[in-house]
Symmetry: C5
Subunit: 323 residues, 5 copies
């Protein structure tokens, strides 16, 4: 499988040519032209060629080749190296992937690792607005970042929905081992999303402030927009986490209350069963002279007494909420 998804030159914001990796050197000499390369899970050789063409730093290439980095931004001389994590809902699970970028004065390389949506649509959208794309590779970077960050909104909406379902479960049903496990799993997922999202804020901040010719004044508001979305996603995650903590506490309270209810109900019924047993026991004693036993109405009277006492107890327990 070829790992080069797309490699095109753009002049004044318009697609000029699909170029081969080895011809890039030539293309970059043209004025107002930049190259946008999209790679997917590239093999070692390809990374070496890319490094050769753009003169990238060893350490960055090493990082870009391995996945499982944390989101970060690093400047190597005139080149920015950026790592982002992507996320997508996949049923009840979240699939995480990674995308790395090399951003230079007249080139951008994006490298996708693991499961993530294709950036074909993003590129097409960019090509349809040449007046924006002519701002250079920084705008291409913005477009992909914006796309990646916006992918988090449905993910978090999904998690929020599950928190809401959890609330219903907690307050409407009895707490089960499954509820507790669900809380735990949601916590773990939120933790993972948090780790992917929170460094984004810092990355966007640096992109907005970098004292570099790479990102010009006009492009910065676009990165501020990505920053704003990242902050919002971050807040939504924090919010969901706080709700989850509150739900956990409520769950614990309700388990205790339910334990109380069980104890009360048990105590009530134990009394209602225990009192007749006691009375019957007394009239089961074998004393020679127990006058009540000879009375003709002794039995029905005692039976009535027992039933009456049980009824009374039932009434009082019910009234005080024990039954």
């Amino acid at each position: 499988m070829d790992c080069v998804v797309n490699c095109s030159a753009y002049a004044n914001g318009r697609k000029a040519d699909s170029v081969e990796i080895d011809d890039i050197g030539e293309v970059l000499k043209r004025p107002d032209t930049f190259v946008w390369i999209g790679l997917q899970d590239p093999h070692n050789d390809m990374m070496k060629r890319i490094q050769g063409v753009f003169g990238l730093h060893d350490l960055a290439i090493e990082d870009a080749h391995r996945a499982h980095q944390r989101p970060k931004i690093e400047a190597y001389g005139e080149v920015l190296f950026i790592v982002l994590r992507t996320a997508q809902m996949n049923g009840q699970n979240i699939d995480h992937g990674e995308t790395h970028f090399f951003l230079g004065k007249n080139f951008i390389v994006s490298i996708r690792h693991g499961s993530s949506l294709s950036y074909v649509d993003v590129r097409a959208r960019c090509e349809s607005t040449p007046h924006l794309l002519q701002k250079g590779p920084a705008f291409a970077l913005y477009s992909v970042m914006d796309f990646i960050v916006d992918q988090y909104f449905p993910v978090i909406a999904g998690l929020e929905e599950r928190v809401a379902e959890l609330e219903d479960k907690i307050f409407e049903e009895t707490s089960t081992r499954e509820t507790t496990q669900l809380i735990y799993l949601l916590k773990r997922q939120l933790l993972e999303v948090k780790r992917s999202v929170s460094p984004l804020i810092d990355i966007c901040n640096k992109l907005m402030r970098f004292d570099l010719r790479l990102i010009d004044e006009e492009t910065r508001p676009y990165f501020r927009d990505v920053y704003d979305h990242a902050v919002r996603i971050n807040e939504m995650v924090d919010n969901a986490r706080e709700l989850l903590s509150a739900a956990l506490e409520a769950n614990l309270s309700l388990i205790s209350i339910s334990q109380n209810d069980v104890s009360k109900r048990f105590a009530g019924w134990a009394a209602i069963i225990g009192v007749p047993t006691m009375i019957a026991g007394i009239y089961g004693m074998n004393f020679d002279s127990m006058p009540e036993l000879q009375w003709s109405y002794g039995y029905p009277i005692v039976l009535g007494l027992i039933i009456g006492m049980c009824g009374l107890m039932f009434y009082f327990f019910r009234r005080s909420g024990w039954l």
Copy 2:
């Protein structure tokens, strides 16, 4: 429905004219004049016209058109874009809305989304103090912000009252599932209010410090006043949240204590019922020679013994607080 609520020009702090959106260009050429436009849930076309007249940035227009932003302040060149969230009590619930502002050198546009009070009264009050309104559109911004922030005081007073009610419930009644649910719901509401209010502090801070000609030295103390209110609301929310946490902990303790009480009471009564059952059982045994059974006073003595022991147990349990 027309989405333009009001569109007027002000010269030297006095209302000069109601103007049409398309005539604004003319009006803005006059010296010492600014335009104040109030929109409500504007449709797409209107936003385009507003954008055209004032030369606003694409990204800001996009944000302003969609609701569900987080409170923020952003500078696009000479224009400030501000997003605030509004809140109002509606029975037990809190209705949240949003208001966006574009503030320029000689114009201010306010855009209401969702449920929020009308700003007609604010505008009227401003018009009644021309010496203040002549400070320019920044003063109009202050007036509406002050109005929005002051709306939070009754909201929080309402929440504080419900926390106080909760305290009474916790300490005076038995803990029920409803108490726990109420704590949870209050927590969620406070969380939401917190999210609306806490960015306000940062926004006011920036308005007080912005190195811009938009807000002059004289108007800044007014924004500091809004800042002060925002800080106060924020503190009230934090306070209510801490009280709620303390209430939750107290609630948990009380549930456990109540569980203890149930156990103790149950144990006490179980003993009072169990001891007679045991004694009766013994005198119900069928041994041929059980001398007590032949005694003429055997039965009353045993009965007396049973009653005496029960009385004694009752007395001791009561004294040690188990019954």
Copy 3:
């Protein structure tokens, strides 16, 4: 009731005159002279007159007239506006009040709201050290602030004492609903004191650093002293809060342990009552041929067996700490 408690002019640190509000303008023209006015719950007119004489800002006057501000310091041009909260023990409760200050180059106005001690003594003490008072109104401000802050020490000592009492209650007696309520109330009081005290640190910090002619180099160590006391009070409050949290956790543990004890004791006695009942039941069966029943010593043997088993159980339960 007149709301002017005292209004005097000081020249070179010595009291020159009691002056009328309306004569202040004249007095302030003298060199090395400042005016110190003390107001209590002033009415609207008085505030207007004060505003007129010293040229104070509308917003500050508005704040100073309403109580229930948060402690803060604000500069309006050359005038500082300071809000402090006061506290006093009143039996088991804490009475909170407010004092506002306007500090100018040659005047200081203090405005008391709600319950707080009179500043007559402070003024007298200042007047007895003219070499200090001649440092100007900033020294008068220091004196009152020092007095206010020192009022917190007995308040916190009182709260610490109640925390210590609580400790004794928790570890020496059984946990009751009252203990839990007491923890909650102490938490609430500490929260309130915290809110009053913690902004003091920031206020003193600003007073020590303010780039203003109002507070000269020589007076600053005095504000650092107040700062130091504020930090100390703050730490004492935090300390008490941490102790309270630890006490709460200990309380919860002890409730659970006590629940364990109840369960164990109940289980032990249940066994001691249940075993005789079971044995008696067996010898109460009506089988025709139960040889034990005919034995002459059957009854005493079974009785002995029962008593022996109960004794044994009692011994074992006691040894393992269940009874």
Copy 4:
């Protein structure tokens, strides 16, 4: 009792003379000479004399005379005023004391309050390294500070040991009220040590950076060394606190598990006692025609049945861990 422990002049790092307080003025005129005074719980007069000799600030003298300050560093003109808290193990308790310092260009005064080790040894050690002591009074300050900070290591080692003992108690024995009380007491002690130690970091930091002639470039690494120790002690305290929190949580879990065990064991034995009682009850009924009662092997069969069922129940409960 005289409160002057030692008062000596040092020239070029060597002890020149024991001097009287009143002769200090003379001594300080000599070049390369500094005075090191050690006081213990000084009375008011002595403080006044010290103040007179070195020209110290009123506020500092006031603080130095009263104990119960928080650790701090304050500059009064050319003089530094430093407050440190000392700690020593005393059996299970920790004795806290205070030492205050005045550090000037050519003098250092140390004032001990409450229980703390004598600084005689420290002085002796300093005198044995004249090449270091000639760096001036700052080195003397370093020596005493180092001594004070190093006193905390055994204190914390003692607390860590008690935390380790607590671990053993929690995991090997049953939780008792004493365990809970021990956790609470350790928490309180750690809190107190924390309060004494954590300001040290800030104090050392300031000593390392102070833009003053008091501490020269060469002496700073020594204060960095004290800083390093303070940071380490602080970390050890934090570590012990986190361990304690974890131990508390483990304790709570174990109490609940133990409660579970009690309930299960009780339930098991209740069944083993309850079933025979039920069967015996049935054969104790007085129906005229109960064929089993006439069977010659009725009694042994039922007895066998009862014993068999109890055995079976015992086996199953044991296997499922309830007994």
Copy 5:
């Protein structure tokens, strides 16, 4: 045992000579040459010789000789002193060691204390890339630091695996004392790793920014790489800690739920045993006239009634999840 593991001179990145400690002075005079010394648990004399040769500070030598420092970086004039902690899995335990460095313009000394892997391989790898090693001793420092930091990845992977095992234990089995103890032990280990790793971030940060000739522009990206790894390890530790906290909470909930289950099951069976006992008791009463007793089908009817009621109760308890 000799404590010098290796002592070599490097010229232009290539190994020139193994040198004796005492000849180092000579070697360092050659241009483009640096010396790399590896020591292990050095004795006092060796440290003195090293100090003499490179002119190191007393305090640093003192620290370097004692183990049990916290990770730190300190500049003594032109020499950096660095302390790192190492970690290795050893079955279920983690072995911690320490490595200290002295980094000068043309020398590096590494001192290993306690259990840690040998740096022979690191040195070999460095020698195989002379173009990198010629950057000087800073690159040698980088190589060893990188090696030390990378040792943490398997340690944390091991801890993460144990957290995952714990999850399975918690959600699939019943909570036992062992689970709780395991949580506690994992917490303690994570706490220890955290203490070793978190200061690394600060150390790398300082190495990247130090305003020194020791680390040139070209070598800094390498330290940023170590920084990046340290941040990642730190995040992994924090993540594992948060998961552990969540697991602990889940564990507590599950213990309570399991307690609830025990109570419910007990209550159910108690009812199923108690009701027959009660009925049998009633028909065991000795009244003269109890018509049911004379009925020929009295016994089977009552027996049927008892069995029917028990069956019914069993059905209802099962349906409501109590059994």
